[in-house]
């Protein structure tokens, strides 16, 4: 029981602190790469505090959907963070891969409905684009997680952080699944080849366009949610990589996950700086790579098991 409490405490601390810290590292790295001084690493925390103290401006056209959506999607994402073993430790609540994808979709639905509720053109545009992309991303996520599940012989997500077969060298099941989730994460967290996170041009926005109407505490919540999603997905990718390296002890896994997540955040910053945003119509071409890779990963896992 006490071990469970310790685990819960560590996961809670990470849920509270890590997302904003990762965003801070990402922004600082991006600024350094662009030869700018950039904000401090802890700037997102100050921003969060500042936003929670401000009063919110809410359009009179909006209904309760717009006001309640940040809380609803935050709830979905918090449950997601509690059922996924993204910290390297077993998740406090046991869940399976369908629940994972469902919770991501639930959060997306809440933010999409809220964006439609505002009645602005850009909000509707963003919601429509994000839901179209999610159609392309969901099969990739399901299949990649299924490849891991088939390989470990267990459908629960927690099996991903307790490799049953420490064989390592998984004949590309784990690397392929990790690559597929990485591509899906680029869409889910709206990073560079999919969307320019620093853009001020509303027409090219996807996820950002849904956040345009928010201000004050709700904006703080919405920004924290993007950060949380990024943390969970990168942590999940780290589990696949750690399984490939057959690392079993929980201390090594937690520190390994931490290191890998920061490495991935730095890689995301590098991609933000050096890649160009793909044309909206070219995205299916890119995302099918993820689908094909996760299909092959499933196939290889099934053949091995």
């Amino acid at each position: 029981m006490s071990i469970y409490l310790v685990r819960m405490a560590i996961v809670t601390c990470e849920i509270v602190l890590l997302p904003l810290l990762l965003i801070g590292i990402l922004r600082a790295t991006r600024s350094r790469l662009q030869k700018r001084k950039g904000p401090r690493i802890f700037q997102p925390f100050y921003d969060f505090m500042r936003l929670t103290r401000k009063s919110a401006v809410v359009s009179e056209e909006t209904g309760p959907l717009f006001r309640g959506a940040p809380a609803a999607s935050l709830a979905a994402l918090l449950i997601l963070a509690l059922v996924t073993p993204w910290s390297g430790l077993a998740a406090p609540i046991s869940g399976d891969l369908v629940l994972f994808v469902f919770l991501l979709a639930a959060a997306r639905m809440a933010s999409g409905l809220a964006a439609l509720d505002t009645g602005t053109a850009f909000g509707g545009l963003g919601a429509s684009r994000e839901s179209a992309l999610s159609i392309l991303v969901e099969p990739t996520l399901v299949l990649a997680l299924a490849a891991g599940a088939i390989y470990e012989g267990n459908l629960t997500l927690n099996a991903l952080c307790q490799p049953a077969n420490g064989r390592g060298g998984s004949a590309y099941v784990m690397p392929l699944a990790a690559a597929a989730i990485w591509l899906a994460a680029a869409v889910e967290t709206s990073r560079m080849p999919v969307e320019d996170p620093t853009t001020h041009l509303e027409l090219t926005m996807i996820h950002e366009a849904q956040m345009l109407e928010y201000s004050g505490p709700r904006l703080a919540l919405v920004e924290y949610q993007s950060a949380l999603k990024l943390t969970v997905l990168y942590g999940l990718i780290s589990q696949f990589i750690l399984n490939e390296m057959a690392i079993k002890s929980s201390i090594a896994r937690v520190s390994g996950t931490f290191g890998l997540t920061i490495a991935m955040v730095v890689a995301a910053a590098v991609m933000d700086v050096f890649l160009v945003r793909l044309h909206w119509r070219k995205l299916p071409d890119l995302l099918t790579f993820g689908l094909a890779f996760s299909l092959v990963a499933c196939l290889l896992a099934a053949l091995r098991g």
Partner: protein, 209 residues
């Protein structure tokens, strides 16, 4: 050696599928070169392990001629013809990737060549299939040459996985044929580009006035 075999086979398959989805010629050539160098190195290693001089020499030939010379020649060709991006494929490239995955999946699951092909050589058949898809699907002449070379990589990998399968003479003859084929295809591409101003095969019906 056996695990290394299957690891490399799957890597060849994955890089082949990657090439099917790509449209930038230079990236495709880089991937092809890496793939070929990997096959050549594997052939040399297997040759050393089994004390087969033929395989070592064939591996070295593949490494130098197909892994280094052919990509350099083809990148020179793209440079001269001035075609850096694929104009398109006969099917949309996402569909092509799925066709590849389906073909490889069917191959692995049903294993239609059970009688004649050992399971270790299955990835080689997969690479041949992917090479065929690569060759047939693209509209740009250079991409088709690359597809042909990938197909041949699959063939060579197949001979590597089955020891004592081919004598040196045949191996080197095949290599020579491949090189000659690539050169001729390259010269043809020059000619096509000269007389049609483009190497998109769908435009061959409309010669320059």
């Amino acid at each position: 050696m056996n695990t290394l075999d299957s690891l490399l086979g799957n890597l060849l398959l994955i890089s082949g599928m990657w090439m099917v989805g790509l449209s930038a010629i230079s990236t495709k050539l880089t991937l092809y070169a890496l793939q070929t160098v990997a096959v050549g190195v594997l052939a040399i290693l297997v040759g050393i392990a089994h004390h087969e001089t033929a395989l070592i020499m064939a591996g070295a030939g593949v490494l130098v001629l197909k892994g280094i010379a052919a990509p350099l020649y083809l990148s020179y060709l793209t440079h001269v013809v001035g075609c850096r991006k694929d104009v398109g494929s006969l099917l949309a490239s996402p569909l092509l990737l799925l066709v590849c995955a389906a073909a490889v999946g069917g191959l692995y699951l049903f294993h239609p060549f059970r009688a004649s092909v050992p399971p270790g050589a299955l990835p080689a058949i997969g690479v041949i299939l992917v090479g065929m898809i690569l060759m047939v699907s693209r509209r740009l002449a250079i991409s088709q040459i690359i597809g042909f070379l990938v197909l041949e990589n699959g063939m060579f990998y197949f001979t590597v996985t089955i020891p004592h399968s081919l004598p040196l003479l045949v191996e080197l003859g095949v290599l020579l044929d491949i090189m000659a084929g690539t050169m001729i295809a390259g010269v043809l591409t020059f000619q096509i580009s000269d007389s049609f101003e483009h190497i998109d095969i769908l435009r061959l019906n409309h010669p320059r006035k």
